[in-house]
């Protein structure tokens, strides 16, 4: 019964990842890729300040986007599960799903329309006589990339948070309150720990998408806001160097995995487990 899906995954997932990994030890003459066992590509990634900066910035932007998405999504998820908006929950969740399924590229285009140099917000401010353009600093910057990615990924964070929070019996919180916990105390010591699994999956999902993105920085980030994904895509495109592109990609994935792993270990040390 697993044969069709298993076969598909073997041929089009495991083998391609293997080929890509093998490429990262190969070389190119500008026309063809030759397999090899050289660590040159990884040496380039590790020693070049350019690639180091790009990878570091990807991890940093990914973490910021993950944290901001959760901070923004949590109150909404709380409102429709344990909070006062439970009856509107279905409608709010439907809106979130519509946003989630709206094309990534359309949402990036929409944000560029708002934030870009001739963006609608800048024009409104100028028309209202606001001196200088506060958006000049915002457009084509790291901040523009982060804002856009957060708005794209908030719906991704809402779903695991909603699912985790809806599994918490309100009686648990009521019990803590009746035993003398303040509202904040009950929230910090009952609700958040019980929702930790949802928080961790929300962070992992949003972090991976943001840190591995190349579209938003390409279309909204200036030269100072490019991410490692852009370096990978350009190695697979214009500057034909697939082995180097592959080495950048695997270095990035390895460090992303290491960061998530460390986070899980730290949380476990603090007594918060990824499983209830």
């Amino acid at each position: 019964m697993v044969a069709p899906a298993g076969l598909f995954m073997a041929i089009f997932f495991i083998v391609p990842l293997g080929v890509l990994f093998a490429y990262s030890f190969g070389a190119t003459n500008g026309i063809d890729v030759s397999f090899g066992l050289s660590l040159d590509n990884y040496a380039k990634v590790v020693t070049s300040p350019l690639f180091r900066d790009l990878i570091w910035r990807s991890l940093w932007v990914g973490s910021c986007v993950g944290i901001f998405s959760i901070v923004l999504a949590f109150p909404l998820a709380y409102a429709i599960t344990l909070g006062p908006l439970q009856r509107a929950g279905t409608f709010v969740l439907l809106m979130v799903i519509v946003s989630l399924f709206t094309a990534y590229i359309v949402r990036i285009y929409a944000w560029r329309t708002l934030l870009g140099k001739q963006g609608a917000i800048g024009q409104l401010l100028a028309a209202a006589g606001v001196p200088g353009s506060p958006l000049e600093a915002l457009s084509y910057s790291k901040a523009a990339v982060i804002i856009t990615l957060v708005s794209i990924l908030v719906p991704v964070a809402v779903l695991p948070l909603t699912s985790a929070l809806s599994g918490i019996p309100p009686s648990c919180i009521a019990a803590a309150r009746s035993l003398g916990a303040t509202a904040f105390g009950a929230f910090a010591r009952i609700t958040v720990p019980l929702a930790s699994r949802g928080i961790i999956s929300a962070f992992a999902l949003t972090f991976v998408i943001a840190a591995g993105d190349f579209i938003t920085p390409q279309l909204l980030g200036g030269p100072q806001a490019q991410l490692a994904g852009n370096a990978v895509v350009s190695r697979f495109g214009l500057s034909f160097d697939w082995p180097l592109g592959s080495a950048i990609a695997f270095t990035l994935i390895f460090l992303m995995g290491a960061l998530l792993w460390t986070m899980a270990l730290v949380l476990r040390r603090l007594g918060i487990k990824d499983r209830p």
Binding site: M1, G6, A103, Y109, V208, G212, I253
Partner: protein
């Protein structure tokens, strides 16, 4: 739990502001798709449908829309064919190998699409397969299959296995038990998951971009127009794509009562 007036107002305001943050940019784009100026900038010059006429009249955009639909339909059919049996296995059997299989199926969800795209690109290149709509369909199946499998397996896990056992006891063949008992119970979930795969595939950009070669889909047209800096029809294309998404999600919601949580 009861909530005071202040917290109801606070939560309602917050939810509205957050939804506005999600939808305001899209609303602006839709608004400007009806403006005769053709770029998304104030002031309005007057309402027009000419951008929609331009979209419909443009053969390149029409071709890209057709490609988008072909890839979405191909992806969805392939996902259902490949994924349904896998969903049954994940829902109905408990063993270390099932857990490993479920983990493998979930893995593409945890990797950036960029990595999946360049892996497929390298794979097709190394075995000498040229890029086409077919390779793009394979890329789309790779990213949507986990979604379909886990949505379906969640529904299947909720069905009492004794129902099909009862059918078997009453003399139904396994095929008949499946067709008359199990399939009707999962049909709504299958339709819902399939429509969401359609929506996802229509909107997918990064994997298409890396695996489709020289063909276009609508998201690739938008990318190209944005890169070129001239985007007279992007507003209208975007508005039509948003409309398609809203329609598909609402149909799923009405028809399939899929629980999104």
């Amino acid at each position: 739990m009861t909530y005071g007036r202040a917290s109801i107002i606070a939560f309602t305001t917050y939810t509205c502001v957050l939804l506005a943050f999600l939808f305001a940019p899209i609303a602006v784009v839709i608004l400007f798709s009806f403006d005769s100026k053709g770029i998304a900038a104030f002031p309005f010059q007057g309402p027009t449908l000419s951008w929609y006429q331009a979209v419909i009249a443009d053969p390149i955009i029409r071709k890209a829309a057709l490609n988008s639909v072909i890839v979405a339909v191909g992806t969805t059919l392939a996902c259902i064919l490949i994924g349904t049996s896998a969903a049954f296995v994940i829902a109905r059997t408990r063993s270390p190998s099932t857990t490993a299989f479920a983990g493998l199926m979930a893995l593409p969800l945890l990797l950036p699409h960029l990595l999946l795209g360049i892996a497929l690109l390298s794979f097709f290149n190394s075995i000498g397969i040229g890029l086409s709509l077919w390779t793009a369909i394979i890329g789309h199946v790779l990213i949507t299959l986990p979604f379909l499998v886990f949505t379906l397996s969640a529904r299947i896990a909720g069905i009492d296995p004794q129902l099909s056992e009862a059918a078997a006891t009453l003399g139904a063949s396994p095929a008949k038990a499946f067709a008359t008992v199990t399939l009707p119970l999962i049909r709504s979930a299958m339709i819902g998951a399939a429509l969401l795969v359609v929506a996802w595939s229509l909107d997918e950009f990064s994997v298409s971009f890396l695996t489709i070669g020289s063909s276009n889909t609508l998201p690739i047209i938008i990318w190209g127009q944005m890169r070129a800096g001239v985007s007279p029809t992007v507003n209208a294309i975007s508005a039509l794509m948003v409309l398609a998404t809203i329609l598909l999600v609402c149909i799923v919601h009405r028809l399939a009562d899929l629980k999104f949580r």
